[in-house]
Symmetry: C2
Subunit: 336 residues, 2 copies
């Protein structure tokens, strides 16, 4: 992870230098200030990378990519391309060349990896719903191109870049969401809670987990068909989401298992929320195809080795869920 | 579905007219022939839409979108935009205007809906692994822009359009694949087999289905954790894929269920393949975390109401799977 983070930092460093170069060469003061703002934005990203690097050096950033070599190779080629663009600063072309250069840099920065890690870093520094890293910079650049009347070719390039940015976001979102229910998949869930766990550790707050297992769910699929089973899963996801705090995190953990992260929690809260969710599922699905849920939960403080403590907490949750399922189901067992 | 298909047809009709207009106005004969080829490609697409429309009128195209109104609204706005581009034919601008216009049309045609339905139509007409509809046309246009030295702005726009096209494909692929195992999800599976079923019906061939259910899989998750459970699911998907014909279709049907479509099949083949797959799973996962599969299967001919007959066949598969699971598991029950 450390070499990936260093590459990200180097990429944004190069981008910053291109924008600074464009600012120095701009005759129009408005344009010069626009390029300077873009350079400053890259500078702000650099702070995020530095923070992530420090966390990684303390072993606090988990391995986020199954294919680290590939990700590194991709970032290295982005770095090469942006460095090549930088040398274009000294070979000005027609009147539109600064825009072409600036748009090309933005085009290179539209990497799912950069976007993903940047969102991660922002969550780690406490932003609740981090905005896309490239959205603001891109908007500024596109507005400037339009204002300057740089021509129909660049207008087209701008529209395409905006579309690319939107698709980039969509791809990122899709890979973190469960297609069936729309809630986070396992990867999305772990990604979302990891920074929150670190925040809780730093501020000494207690965190909690609940795991919900739909009782005898296979029966629904067998008796009513998969279509109906899917509807029930979607309904349960909606019910759970509707009965949680905005700040808590819901994920679909497996076929018929959901997981909830609660932070911060006070004594007794995990059991109370667990009971609330259990009841909501029972009442919300009463009708043609009723389902119930067994719920296990646990809460605790996290020590310096956040990952290990989260794993321990989840093992306790699993044990509680096992008890709930083997002692009658449709009940909540929490160890607080 | 019919009004969606009519809109698709109208969109490509408009695109064709833009390209024809560009061909008429091109002074350079090479460029004129390039525009004509693009127009002809749109013409070929039109045939696909007509075929799909005829199938839809016979009730042979299932409802492919949960949100038909949204899809229609989107296509209608694409149609409006391409019609607006068409009127640009009579207002030429600088030397690059034909390229800007052509690239804009391609940009508008990069719709997931169009791409998706076009692939569907191609599969229905018997192409095994249909290529992207826009790939060839785009390649031709980009090559022409480069050859003519249309300037750095349009070079940039071309690169972006190629990137957009690639992302469009990726988005389409992701929504049809199960993120965990990489095999088709339910939607992807049904999409893939529907045209194949129609082909089989027309040629009077027998088709078969196998449904595999991993025995007591919850135990793996409970005893070894979800990470391990996921590994097992990935391994099973690999094993199944490795033991099927290229022309058969594999899907992950639910948490621990896989489904296989076989076409064409001869008498006894479904039971034989079922046994082969059952054995492959048992032997392939022997070791730390062994799993076995119960398998149900059925085969039959499809009548004119393909969808109804597929549903009937799947009901028989379900019944067989139920017997396999309630009579000892790790066995194959097929009704041929």
């Amino acid at each position: 992870m450390k070499s990936i983070l260093r590459l990200c930092q180097a990429v944004e460093e190069q981008a910053k230098e291109v924008y600074e170069g464009l600012a120095q060469r701009a005759a129009d003061p408005d344009l010069a200030s626009m390029w300077r703002e873009l350079a400053m934005e890259e500078g702000r990203h650099r702070e995020h990378w530095q923070m992530l690097l420090r966390s990684a050096e303390r072993g606090q950033v988990p391995s986020l990519f199954p294919n680290e070599e590939e990700v590194e190779a991709e970032l290295r080629s982005v770095l090469t391309r942006i460095a090549a663009l930088r040398s274009g600063l000294d070979a000005p072309g027609n009147a539109a060349w600064p825009f072409v250069l600036g748009l090309r840099v933005q085009f290179q920065l539209l990497q799912p990896t950069l976007e993903y890690l940047l969102q991660w870093a922002r969550r780690l520094s406490g932003e609740a719903e981090p905005k896309s890293g490239s959205e603001q910079a891109l908007g500024r650049l596109v507005a400037a191109v339009r204002r300057c009347g740089a021509g129909p070719e660049l207008d087209l390039a701008c529209e395409m870049l905006v579309a690319l940015q939107r698709q980039n976001q969509q791809l990122l979102l899709q890979s973190h969401r469960d297609a069936l229910t729309g809630v986070r998949n396992r990867r999305g869930f772990l990604d979302a809670i990891f920074p929150l766990c670190h925040l809780a550790q730093r501020s000494g707050q207690t965190v909690g987990f609940l795991m919900l297992d739909l009782d005898d769910f296979k029966r629904v699929n067998d008796e009513h068909g998969h279509e109906r089973g899917d509807e029930v899963l979607r309904a349960v996801a909606r019910i759970l989401q509707g009965n949680m705090r905005q700040s808590d995190v819901l994920g679909r953990h497996g076929g018929d298992q959901f997981i909830v992260f609660l932070s911060p929690v006070v004594a007794g809260a995990v059991a109370a929320v667990g009971e609330k969710l259990r009841l909501a599922v029972e009442e919300g699905t009463a009708g043609e195809c009723p389902v119930t849920a067994s719920v296990g939960g646990a809460s605790g403080m996290l020590g310096r080795d956040v990952q290990r403590d989260v794993d321990k907490l989840l093992a306790r949750v699993d044990a509680c869920l096992f008890i709930a399922r083997s002692t009658g189901r449709n009940r909540v067992v929490v160890q607080e």
